[in-house]
């Protein structure tokens, strides 16, 4: 069955106790497009993506992925998820083992050589194969980010969601990151990025979702969102800057 939408969210409400994180959010996303979610801190962006990928189970509303309910879809395959980059605490795990986590559901009791080959292939795709044996906490922010992207991609997801992936990345790492997203999109993966980088939004997104507890607007063109709109959304002046990352 051909699905019009890869992800449909209807009347989604998530609460933390008495606090409403997001309320009555509805939208539909098409396959193979690049979407950006923007909004102020505490506006519910991370809650939204955590609910979609299966971290948060307690919600009201309906999430449909490729025509199946969220739980039904997640039983069959993973949504690629790259979490917000926080300070990685010291933990004795190698890069290759972090990437293998993404293949956990494919293994029986232990990882075999084909799992390692698959993980190495993704590391090569991201140009970090030489980091294979390094410990995760020894890496720079940009390198760690790519390892987390490798973990998200290794299972071959149809949807990839990244939560503020460019925070802490230098200009060169950001350029590589944008090129990667372009390649993923070209290969048919639906990419959803949560960001505060409004300039980045204008440059690369097919559509933008603005979230502040509720879905404020779902626009397909940045020009539909004047600067005064962002100012209203964030509560302070936001100037859109066009990035020059097309290398």
């Amino acid at each position: 069955m051909k699905c019009e939408y890869c992800l449909e969210v209807k009347n989604l409400t998530v609460r933390y106790g008495d606090i409403v994180a997001i309320k009555d959010v509805s939208f539909s996303l098409e396959k193979g497009k690049f979407y950006t979610i923007v909004g102020p801190n505490g506006g519910g962006k991370s809650t939204l993506v955590k609910t979609i990928v299966g971290i948060i189970d307690d919600y009201d509303g309906k999430i449909t992925i490729f025509g199946k309910s969220r739980d039904e879809y997640l039983k069959e395959r993973l949504i690629g998820y790259v979490p917000q980059m926080s300070g990685v605490r010291k933990f004795p795990i190698r890069v290759i083992d972090v990437v293998l986590m993404g293949l956990f559901r494919e293994r029986k009791f232990r990882y075999r050589s084909h799992h390692y080959k698959k993980a190495m292939k993704v590391l090569e795709l991201l140009g970090i194969e030489e980091l294979e044996s390094r410990l995760i906490h020894e890496l720079s922010g940009g390198q760690r980010q790519r390892v987390m992207i490798a973990r998200a991609l290794v299972s071959g997801p149809e949807i990839l969601i990244m939560d503020e992936p460019t925070v802490g990345l230098d200009r060169e790492s950001q350029s590589k990151f944008y090129n990667l997203i372009r390649n993923l999109k070209d290969s048919g993966v639906t990419v959803i990025v949560v960001t505060h980088d409004v300039g980045f939004v204008s440059e690369y997104s097919d559509a933008i979702l603005c979230i502040n507890k509720r879905l404020v607007v779902h626009a397909t063109d940045i020009s539909e969102l004047p600067e005064r709109f962002f100012t209203k959304l964030y509560g302070y002046g936001v100037k859109t800057i066009v990035h020059d990352h097309k290398e």
């Binding site: 979490p83 004795p92 972090v98 986590m101």
Partner: protein, 268 residues
Amino acid sequence: MILTEIFVYEFGQIALVGGILSAISTSLLGNLVVLRKMTFMGSGIAHLSFIGVGLGLLLGYNPSLITLAVAVTSALVLGYLSRKGIHEDIGVGVLFSTSMALGIILINLSKEDSSRVMAYLFGDILAMSWGDVEVLATLAVAVLVFTILFRDHLVYATFDEDFSKILGIKIGAIYYSFLVLLASSIVLSINMLGIILVSAMIVVPSASAMLVSKTYKGMFILSPIISTISVFAGLVLSWVYDIPSGASIVLVQGLIFLFSFLVKVFGK
């Protein structure tokens, strides 16, 4: 004097086999304790089980069984508190002294001979029986199977809990099973090392292995080896110098940790 003379005697053989079996269980579980940064937990469960010793002596039942029941219950309660946002070490910190105080009062009420109490506090590996070894062997097999099946589940949940949820790992049941095995290993090792020293069996070999091996996979190979060497060397030392066996084992573990630390600092 032949250094291994102690193993000619049956009590020495029992101590060696029982000690190695205990070393395997405690060190494998100890890796998860160290990785989860809940190192106070081992000491806490041991001290909480002192209530069981007091109750057993007061009521006239076998203290070992009541101690096991108290330790398992305590571990599950601490685990539950932890999953509700109160870190294991905070729970242990609160209950640690209270349980010791209660144990002391119960023992005082029982009017029990102090030598029996001392055996629980400091242990006596040379007083173990083949029956004790059989129980330790059963536990070691259970811990081995658990480690083979669920090591990665617990490591992943420790490293990145959100991602482990995405993977569909049902961490609750596995975590509680781990705590039951941990509490059982601690109680069964109390016979050897006593309440005061038993937490060393959980923490020190894994901490040493972490310094040397760098990866969690290496820890699971190295820590049982370090712990086994400690038991062997500790028993030999205790025989040669006529010093307490439990203390000798822990001392060897401490020396291995110091050596591992020096290797890490100066070996680069």
